[in-house]
């Protein structure tokens, strides 16, 4: 289990869902989210592949962030790019990630997305998967759960968050142009965030 492998698994999961994510974005955006994310992770995987196997997690996350930033092209580029760069902060110099560190990384990522995109919970964005995930993770820590158990609840909360995005109006991002017409559709970014969390969980499990 290395950071490099984790990124590979997460990246491949996103690349596999390219069509699905693009179709979601077709309904309430410009139909490129899957294309953007697949292009981004293909570029990322090329960059991480050549890193030494024992590269520390923080450095890998920075590589992922910069890779996404320089290749995605859509809103998800600066958003996820910032998220990965910021997640690299709390795990700096750590070789083992415990539940508290993982939670701090998730929160740093969320904070980065909010600094970048100025969105709150309930605006039909990736935050509607990630913020509930973080909240569930926190519950897990409070109940003394393991990292894997915490991550499991986080994935469940993210999936619920994706379902919730179907019921609300987009007020940030391109989908906001559709106003009420965005209701009934799940948010592409919330979906890709959940795909990543799920892949990470399956990898660690």
């Amino acid at each position: 289990m290395t950071g490099k492998d984790a990124v590979k698994i997460v990246g491949q999961a996103v690349i596999e869902k390219k069509m699905f994510l693009t179709d979601l974005d077709q309904a309430i955006g410009d139909g490129d989210h899957g294309i953007n994310m697949a292009r981004g992770f293909e570029s990322v995987l090329q960059k991480t592949e050549v890193l030494p196997d024992d590269t520390d997690i923080s450095s890998i996350l920075k590589t992922v962030g910069m890779g996404l930033i320089s290749s995605v092209g859509g809103a998800s580029g600066p958003l996820y790019g910032t998220a990965f760069l910021r997640a690299a902060g709390p795990c700096k110099d750590k070789t083992n990630i415990d539940a508290n560190t993982a939670k701090a990384m998730l929160d740093a990522a969320i904070k980065g997305i909010q600094d970048r995109g100025k969105a709150q919970k309930g605006e039909k964005t990736m935050l509607d998967a990630l913020i509930p995930a973080s909240e569930a993770f926190a519950e897990g820590i409070k109940a003394d759960k393991t990292l894997l158990e915490c991550l499991s609840s986080a994935v469940q909360a993210a999936q619920d968050g994706v379902e919730y995005t179907k019921t609300i109006i987009a007020t940030k991002g391109r989908a906001s142009y559709l106003a009420e017409r965005s209701i009934g559709h799940q948010d592409p970014g919330a979906t890709s965030a959940t795909i990543m969390l799920t892949a990470l969980y399956n990898y660690i499990k």
Binding site: I69, S71, G73, P78, R116
Partner: protein
């Protein structure tokens, strides 16, 4: 002189805005970062950062952007800049075409960063009544 950077999802828009702005202010430092790294529709924080660096000649830079995700890419590009430069690189809260033309003319008259930014902002109020 305050430099101008035009950030658009479309290479064509970025180039077109530059050509209109330069018409009124020939030779002014106007740099574009249009489209994605591979020439598609989108934005590229890396080229935005490069344009910001190129546009600065000591008096700062006013950046014009088209849509929300361009704004995010600008924010990120600024974060990647040398912090001293980032201080004097300002995103205009203004429409890209109308603001860029007004700002470029203002900048070409040797106005301050604040004045150029204000002029771009005032382009929000431009009326179009036939």
């Amino acid at each position: 002189m305050v430099g101008i950077v035009i950030v658009s999802h479309s290479v064509k828009i970025a180039e077109g805005v530059k050509e209109l702005a330069l018409q009124m202010a020939k030779g002014h430092p106007v740099f574009t970062a249009g489209g994605t790294a591979d020439g598609g529709i989108g934005t590229d924080p890396i080229r935005i950062q490069e344009a910001m660096e190129a546009a600065n000649s000591g008096d700062g830079v006013v950046v014009m952007a088209d849509l929300g995700s361009a704004v995010m890419s600008v924010g990120l590009a600024k974060e990647m800049l040398d912090p001293d430069l980032a201080e004097v690189v300002k995103l205009a809260n203004a429409p890209i075409v109308e603001g860029a033309i007004a700002a470029t003319v203002e900048a070409s008259m040797g106005s301050s960063l604040e004045k150029v930014l204000q002029t771009a902002h005032d382009a929000r109020n431009m009326d179009k009544i036939d």
